[in-house]
Structure formats: structure tokens, C-alpha cells
């Protein structure tokens, strides 16, 4: 099989099994809903305060939700020794990584697109004009989270205490993504001119490229048995 067909089939397999079981997306969705509720209880916000805080709340909810999806990504492969099949298959390991990355990206983006209207409703935001830009920010930041996230998911699934280790390893590395995503989202939501926060989009793009390449290379060392 050629490189791109491997990417396609690995991603397709994950999407199909998700469509059949709906395990990952539904658990991510309800967890994120709870996070939104907890935040709205913990800060009593008026319109003004909400505009300041909402970008942070959105990204905390998205990042924690992403942890669930990323953790499940390779944990699902443990059943029926699927992980070993991936390890011994002659398919290029980098292609397997990119397939997994694509599937994780799709899951997280789907949940974010379902959740975002909830934020708009609960916190009374005006977003109609900014939607394309927000979507771009979501894609770039989620991609950044999933690059290292997919790599570490493959790593932590093969060690003890994997549910604990994934966030402990991933969140410190994701600090630049979180800062850039929050700042860019705040800029877009407050409808300030793009010049003021386009550097954050550039930072996200740089992070995405660097860590896609690095994880693509490192994945071979992780699944090698």
C-alpha cells in the first residue's frame, strides 16, 4: 500500500469504528458540557467579564476534552492486540501516525464545532462575522494539540498509569498552543483588527509544522517493539 493509502485507511478505520460505537465523541461532548457548567458556576459573570474570560474558558474546556479523545485514540487499539498488529505491519510508521493524527483532529474539531454554539448561547456572544477566523484558529490550535498528543497517546498507552501520564506530559508542552489560542480567540471575539493578533496565528502555524515533523519522525521510535 502506498503511503497516502495507509494514512487514509488508518484514519478511516478510526472514523468508522467511532461512527459505530460513538464512544469517544459522546464522552468528550458530555465532559465538555460539564466543564462549561462548572465554569459558569465558579465565576458569576456579567457581559463585560464574560468577554474577558470566555477565550480562556473555551480553551480549557477544549484542551481537557481533547485529553479524553487523545487518550482513547490508542487505548482503543489495545483490544484484540490491534496495537501489535500496527507495530508488526509493514506499513510505514509515519503514515500510521498521520492517519491517527487525522482521526484525532477530526474528532476534536467535531466536538469543538458542536460545543461552540453552547458557549455562544450560555455566554451571550456575538460571533457571526468572526466565524471563519474562529474556525481557522480552532483548526490550527487543535492541530497543535493533536500532534504531540497523538505521539504521547501512543507512548502512554504502553506504560502504567496511562490516564495520568498523558495530561502530565502533554499539557506543559502545549503551553505555547494554549497561550496563542487564547490570545487569538480573545482577539477575534472582541472583533479587534487582525493585525493585533495575527502573530498568534503565525505562532500556532510554526508550532504545528515543527511538531508534526518531529512527531512524524519520533513515532517510529515509539511503536518500534
Amino acid at each position: 500500500m502506498s503511503f497516502f493509502r495507509v494514512i487514509h485507511w488508518v484514519a478511516w478505520k478510526d472514523l468508522i469504528s467511532e461512527v459505530r460505537s460513538r464512544e469517544t465523541i459522546s464522552s468528550m461532548f458530555f465532559f465538555a458540557l460539564i466543564v462549561i457548567l462548572v465554569f459558569s458556576f465558579s465565576f458569576s459573570m456579567d457581559q463585560q467579564a464574560a468577554r474577558q474570560l470566555i477565550a480562556g474558558i473555551i480553551w480549557v474546556a477544549f484542551a481537557f476534552t481533547g485529553m479524553i479523545g487523545l487518550g482513547k485514540s490508542f487505548a482503543a487499539e489495545l483490544q484484540n492486540d490491534c496495537l501489535e498488529q500496527l507495530q508488526i505491519s509493514p506499513a510505514p510508521k509515519g503514515a500510521v501516525y498521520l492517519g491517527k493524527l487525522t482521526a484525532n483532529l477530526v474528532f476534536m474539531l467535531l466536538v469543538e464545532i458542536i460545543l461552540f454554539p453552547m458557549f455562544v448561547i450560555f455566554f451571550n456572544l456575538d460571533v457571526v462575522e468572526q466565524l471563519p477566523l474562529l474556525l481557522l484558529i480552532f483548526v490550527l490550535a487543535t492541530w497543535g494539540l493533536s500532534t504531540v498528543g497523538t505521539l504521547f497517546s501512543a507512548m502512554t498507552v504502553q506504560i502504567r498509569a496511562r490516564e495520568v501520564m498523558l495530561p502530565i506530559l502533554l499539557l506543559p508542552l502545549a503551553v505555547p498552543v494554549m497561550i496563542a489560542a487564547v490570545e487569538a480567540t480573545r482577539g477575534a471575539l472582541s472583533a479587534s483588527p487582525l493585525d493585533l493578533y495575527q502573530q498568534w496565528l503565525q505562532l500556532l502555524a510554526v508550532f504545528d509544522v515543527v511538531f508534526t515533523v518531529l512527531s512524524f519522525w519520533a513515532f517510529e521510535w515509539i511503536v518500534d517493539s
Binding site: M155, I159, R160, I168, P176, I179, L203, W221, I222, D224
Partner: protein, 251 residues
């Protein structure tokens, strides 16, 4: 290869440790007693003689960890993995010490224990990465896999640190006071000499710690392997066919 490295380490570690002690004692005398207090910061500046070398050594140790990790993935030499493991532990220790001494210095100087400055956040993130690295190592059963994962983690973390630094620098640009008082105004010989003696001392101390710790980790691993072999022997003697049970007449 391994026995050669271990012999070299044993031969030179005393000298390195002695030189480190000499430098640190001299540097402490120069910094705490012989040098005058700073014009702007007063006596508080003296903590810099410990803080700056600690921060530099922490970064040097992460550099060693990065180099050793790449070398391990390339050559798969177990002693290099022990070296990386040792460097990570020492780097985590020095990073934590630099954060604590920095806080103590910042309270009288900036009037706050902590600010979200680029260097501070980068160091905090570095500490968290190293803590995660050391924690992850305890959760892997197979030594070869542990070494491989740890090496990948160290390399990915190393690539992340500059991006963390730049992102926080854009986010909060508050570190001007530091560079002015340290570089522009008051970096005279009176400060430079004790600082470089202390830097040399801490670098040598790091070298000494690295040598001792590498040996210790190597011996721990060796002991575990021997224990495992003994246990498997006992297991064979109990349940397996009676291969080695004939009494030998040589003894």
C-alpha cells in the same frame, strides 16, 4: 565500552568533585564577603552569585540530556541512557533550585514572588517537562523501552522550550528590569569575577554529580538484571528438568 566509561568515571570523579568544592568555597567567599553590595539592589544582589550559575547549569544539564538522548537513539548504548537519566534528575533539581532562589531575589527587588515573565515561565515549564520525564521512567517495565521513550520525550521537550520562551515573551513583556540591572549597568569586574568562579564551580559540581549518578544508575540496573537472572535460575531449578543438579566432584 561500558566498563571503560565506568573506569574513567571512577578515576576522575574525585578530582572533579574536589575542584568543584574549591571553586564553590572561593566563589562564596568572593561573592558574600569580598565583593561590595550592589548600588541599586544592596545586599540582595548576592543571591545572584548562586541563582545565575544554578540557572545556567540547569540549562547545561538539559543540553547534556538532549545530546545523550540523540546519542542513545542513534547507538542504543545503555550507559548513555543512564547518563541521560542522571542529567535529567540533576537538571530538574537545579531548575527547581533556580526557581526558588529567583523567587527569593524577586521579592525584595520586584516586590513580588512571581511574575509571568518569559524566563520564569520557561523554567517552570522546563521543570514540569523534566518532572514528567522522571515520572514516566518509573512507569515503564521494560528497560529498553523506558530508555527509548525517555529519549523521545527529552528531544520533543527540548524543541518545545524555545517556542514556550517566545510565546510567553510576546504574551507578557515584563523582564526589562532584569537585563538592565544585570547587563547594562552593574556588570563590573567586582561582580563578574565571583560570578564566573561560582559558574565554574557549579559546572564542575554538575560534572561530579553526573559521574556519580550515572554510575549509580548503571549499578542499579546491573543489580536488577542479576537479581532477575538469579530468580529465573531458581525458577528453573524448581520446576525445570534436572540439568545442573549433578553434584560436581571438583569442589
Amino acid at each position: 565500552m561500558i566498563s571503560l566509561v565506568i573506569k574513567r568515571l571512577q578515576r576522575y570523579e574525585g578530582w572533579v568533585g574536589g575542584a568543584a568544592a574549591l571553586c564553590l568555597v572561593t566563589g562564596l567567599y568572593l561573592g558574600l564577603i569580598a565583593s561590595p553590595p550592589d548600588y541599586y539592589q544592596g545586599e540582595v544582589v548576592r543571591i545572584m552569585y548562586v541563582h545565575v550559575p544554578l540557572a545556567h547549569t540547569a540549562m547545561l544539564a538539559y543540553g547534556v540530556l538532549f545530546g545523550a538522548s540523540i546519542w542513545y537513539l542513534w547507538k542504543r548504548d545503555p550507559i548513555v541512557d543512564n547518563l541521560a537519566h542522571a542529567a535529567a534528575g540533576i537538571s530538574a533539581f537545579f531548575t527547581a533550585a533556580a526557581l526558588v532562589t529567583g523567587s527569593i531575589w524577586a521579592k525584595p527587588t520586584w516586590n513580588t514572588w512571581w511574575t509571568w515573565d518569559a524566563r520564569l515561565v520557561s523554567f517552570a515549564v522546563m521543570f514540569l517537562i523534566l518532572a514528567g520525564y522522571l515520572m514516566m521512567r518509573t512507569f515503564v517495565d521494560d528497560p529498553e523501552r523506558e530508555a527509548r521513550y525517555a529519549a523521545v520525550l527529552a528531544i520533543v521537550g527540548f524543541a518545545d522550550l524555545p517556542i514556550v520562551h517566545f510565546s510567553v515573551e510576546w504574551w507578557r513583556t515584563l523582564h526589562q528590569p532584569l537585563s538592565i540591572s544585570m547587563r547594562g549597568v552593574s556588570m563590573s569586574g567586582e561582580i563578574l569575577v565571583p560570578l564566573s568562579v561560582m559558574s565554574t564551580g557549579f559546572t564542575l559540581l554538575f560534572g561530579y554529580m553526573l559521574m556519580v549518578r550515572t554510575q549509580m544508575l548503571y549499578l542499579t540496573r546491573l543489580l536488577q538484571a542479576k537479581k532477575g537472572r538469579l530468580l529465573s535460575h531458581a525458577h528453573v531449578a524448581q520446576s525445570g528438568p534436572q540439568v545442573g543438579s549433578q553434584p560436581s566432584s571438583a569442589h
